[in-house]
Amino acid sequence: MGNDVLFETLLRLADNHLILGHRLSEWCGHAPMLEEDLAMPNIALDLIGQSRALYAYAAEIENQGRSEDDLAFLRLEKDYHNILMVERPNGDFGHTMLRQFLFSSFMVLFWERAQNSTDKVLSGIAGKAFKESQYHVRHTAEWIIRLGDGTEESHKRMTAATAALAPYIGELFEADAVDQSAISAGIIPRASDLRGAWETQVRSVYAEATLEPILDHQAQTGGRIGQHTEDMGFLLAQLQYVQRTYPNMTW
């Protein structure tokens, strides 16, 4: 396995975390209650922090003189390789919580196993991220239950969120040739192996939330190879604004 597989693997993970952290950070100052104005940035900080560690390591592996910020801010849209779920617009608070719950429920399993990665740096990142993800799952699961089994309106909204996010679940468990190489080399766990545990976890929360699970919807994919939904361009226009407007400066 060449460094390029490791680099691409780190980049995908980093992009997932940066973009989802970005989306979550859009809520800051606009949450339904002050407690969530603290909780959502908390999660966003964890995600962006994880992305930073991953970009820094990816930059090191690439060894082409690019920095963590070059990777985070100065690529073209097609070179961001995050899954589609994380770039989807926030929707309402319930939609945001459900997206986070679905993602973090996956990541907690992923990071748990990645602690045994043959790559020692990644296994170190995984150790910290695993603990953080546990909190993300706990916090969001509580909201799924509260909102699913809350009022008639909240139940309706959560049902809509369930349907809206269903097409973006499948991509979590995909593996293309790059992933396969990384899995074979013991760098990352095989996502499809995590599906069973993920479903058990998600189904139990949906059940408590009195929500009908839609977990096997036909999957939207393409994120891994940079084929995004139309929302991505607008997200990048903001993310990259300063770096693009004032190139080659130190901030």
């Binding site: 100052g29 407690e35 940035p41 900080l45 009022t151």
Partner: protein, 319 residues
């Protein structure tokens, strides 16, 4: 009157007043107003900086900014809790903010058009806030004083962080330096005004001083702030936008200090009364968050009730 005198004695002995202690209604009212206003300022203050979270130039800066804005939310939470000890609910305070009945610091009605504003706010606005707030750590009302201890610790971290952004810019490219100077130009006077009207025009100040809610006058704090900040501006190599600024060795009882130009109080009052560039947008943003969040708060309440009912019937069944 006897009670008032007794109360004043406690204050004079530097005893902390606690929630269940008897207190004059004026004391309570002043505190509710001030703590509420302070809490609202933290909450509204999330918006001008929140404006740059999605556009921060590096990962390090993005993380620091997000954490900072989150801290402000945290300060809001401590302060609302302190106000609640005086018998006013967070919901009530929020409604007063949204209706315009309660005020928040006018400084947050200025816009943040550039990244340099993240530096200038940290350096100047948080700097001025700290000057105001450090004495509040010794405020006579216990819960407020304790909240302020936590707030001040974090604020001085924010201030350093803001100043550090200014250093990067002021020592950066010509565009960055210009951006830093422009931010200083826009934030200098509003920061100076954060200390409020001149002592000669300040109402209610004497009573607040006597009650040890306030410990220094507006002008004293303003002078301290200016004296502390000018050397920092010099280190940055930036020009403070006040042609009348001059070192005066006589000031501060001969220790020296800066003379400064006349403050444009018309602008101050215009912004206080709603005429700032962002007043309407700030309240609109808060109102939208409040309205959009209603279904969430309702659902949380409904769910909690269901859980309580379930527990109750479980307990009943078990008996």
């Amino acid at each position: 009157p006897e009670f008032l005198a007794e109360f004043q004695k406690r204050i004079d002995r530097e005893e902390k007043i606690e929630p269940n202690d008897p207190m004059p209604s004026g004391y309570r009212k002043t505190l509710v107003r001030q703590i509420g206003q302070h809490a609202h300022s933290e909450i509204v203050g999330m918006l001008p900086e929140g404006n740059w979270i999605t556009r921060a130039p590096t990962l390090r800066r993005k993380i620091a900014l997000l954490a900072k804005v989150q801290d402000e939310g945290g300060h809001g939470l401590y302060l609302y809790s302190a106000a609640e000890t005086l018998g006013v609910s967070r919901k009530q305070m929020t409604e007063e903010l949204l209706s315009g009945k309660a005020k928040y610091s006018s400084i947050f009605n200025y816009p943040t058009p550039t990244w340099a504003d993240m530096g200038a706010i940290g350096w100047l606005v948080d700097g001025a806030a700290i000057m105001n707030q450090i004495p509040l750590c010794r405020c006579s009302y216990g819960p407020y004083a304790r909240a302020m201890v936590r707030v001040c610790k974090e604020e001085s971290f924010h201030q350093r962080q803001g100043y550090e952004i200014m250093i990067s810019l002021a020592h950066g490219s010509p565009e960055q330096k210009e951006m830093a100077q422009d931010a200083l130009n826009r934030w200098w006077w509003p920061s100076i005004m954060m200390f409020g009207p001149h002592d000669s025009d300040s109402t209610n100040s004497d009573q607040s001083m006597a009650w040890k809610i306030k410990r220094f006058s507006n002008d004293e704090l303003r002078q301290k702030f200016i004296d502390a900040t000018i050397p920092q501006a010099e280190y940055l190599g930036l020009t403070v936008p006040d042609p009348d600024l001059k070192w005066n060795p006589e000031k501060n009882d001969g220790k020296g200090g800066y003379d400064f130009g006349a403050i444009d109080w018309d602008e101050f009052w215009t912004v206080v009364k709603g005429g700032g560039k962002m007043n309407v947008d700030r309240i609109t943003a808060r109102q939208k968050a409040w309205d959009d969040g209603e279904w969430v708060r309702d659902a949380a309440l409904a769910h909690a009730k269901k859980q309580t009912a379930k527990k109750a019937s479980a307990t009943l069944a078990a008996e």
